[in-house]
């Protein structure tokens, strides 16, 4: 297991849990990162506030890779602007593309996401596009230079789990890039299931932010993700379509 690395854009990770940093206290970030065992954390870019004395960067432990998102972007052009601003903030060249035209369901605009991926990959970004799981779009994202693909499990913030399970499985089976399940994962068991399916990593935010005890939930997710990964690497046992198969010897019964 120690040799089990996750490679994204030439960078090596040992954790397969990408942590969100939204909707909870900055003071909890350090504990969340530690208990999640996370090596990557997402951030958003917003208009700066002069009265804001505390900056999130001061709360993130050293050595954690920052993954700025382009939330708020409605078009590829806006996403590109936000990505460039994020890079100018001086914290690396990773970007999670997130483009939404729809504010009710917060579903990603796959077509605009392809355009932004192509532009930003050419500019040297490590591009991780958030997308609605569709095989053709995923192939286009690969060709556009994506470093990983981030399909949604269910609508952002819903905690509803793997609503798109079968379509994520198709991406895992057909796309030769890390498939990182993002959005909608609400429970450790759902994260574990996605990892058993062969997902490369899990991104979660709301599941932790709305949990009763955030650091404990971060730890529960970590264990579930590690368990699911181990199960995937081990190879799951087969499922019978009908009937049963005894686990005990079928000889030496105490009769006759």
């Amino acid at each position: 297991m120690n040799h089990d690395k996750l490679m994204i854009g030439g960078h090596e990770f040992h954790s397969r849990f990408i942590l969100g940093s939204g909707k909870y206290s900055l003071k909890l970030i350090e504990a969340a990162v530690k208990d999640a065992g996370a090596e990557m954390i997402t951030l958003a870019v917003r208009r700066a506030n002069t009265k804001e004395q505390e900056n999130i960067l001061d709360f993130i432990p050293k050595g954690v890779t920052l993954l700025p998102n382009t939330s708020g972007a409605r078009t590829a052009e806006e996403a590109v602007r936000i990505a460039r601003l994020a890079r100018e903030l001086g914290c690396g060249n990773f970007v999670k593309i997130e483009i939404m035209r729809d504010s009710k369901y917060l579903l990603p605009d796959n077509q605009e996401t392809i355009k932004a991926t192509e532009i930003l990959a050419k500019e040297g970004f490590v591009v991780m596009p958030y997308m609605y799981p569709d095989l053709n779009i995923a192939r286009d994202l690969v060709n556009a230079g994506a470093a990983a693909i981030m399909p949604l499990a269910s609508p952002i913030g819903s905690n509803k789990g793997l609503a798109t399970r079968d379509f994520i499985q198709i991406l895992i089976d057909e796309i030769n890039l890390p498939i990182i399940v993002d959005a909608g994962i609400g429970r450790p068991s759902q994260a574990c299931e996605a990892m058993e399916m062969g997902a490369a990593a899990i991104m979660a935010n709301t599941a932790l932010a709305t949990a009763g005890n955030l650091p404990v939930m971060a730890s529960a997710f970590r264990q579930a993700i590690e368990a699911g990964r181990k199960a995937y690497l081990a190879g799951l046992g087969r499922v019978l379509t009908r009937g049963a198969s005894a686990s005990d010897p079928l000889t030496g019964f105490l009769r006759d």
């Binding site: 969100g20 940093s21 939204g22 909707k23 909870y24 900055l26 970030i29 997402t42 951030l43 958003a44 870019v45 917003r46 208009r47 700066a48 506030n49 002069t50 009265k51 804001e52 900056n55 999130i56 960067l57 920052l66 700025p68 998102n69 939330s71 602007r81 460039r84 601003l85 994020a86 100018e88 903030l89 914290c91 952002i156 913030g157 959005a183 991104m203 935010n205 709301t206």
Partner: protein, 64 residues
């Protein structure tokens, strides 16, 4: 007038560095865009704000 983060300000002719010095932004934690283009940090003192400029000053916040 110069529009900074959506607010019209009467600072035409000042440099970006002058404007930032007069405010409470943490210069290490911001990035600046002028009319859709990044202004590199080392250009703040050479960037003279013109009438009609649209400036965005951003920083990182929590997000998913």
């Amino acid at each position: 007038m110069v529009k900074i983060n959506g607010k019209e300000l009467d600072i035409t002719g000042k440099t970006l560095a002058d404007y930032l010095a007069a405010t409470d932004y943490d210069p290490k934690r911001i990035a600046v865009e002028r009319n859709g283009e990044i202004v590199p940090r080392n250009q703040y003192s050479k960037t003279v704000l013109a009438d009609g400029d649209r400036i965005e000053i951003v920083s990182f916040v929590g997000g998913g």
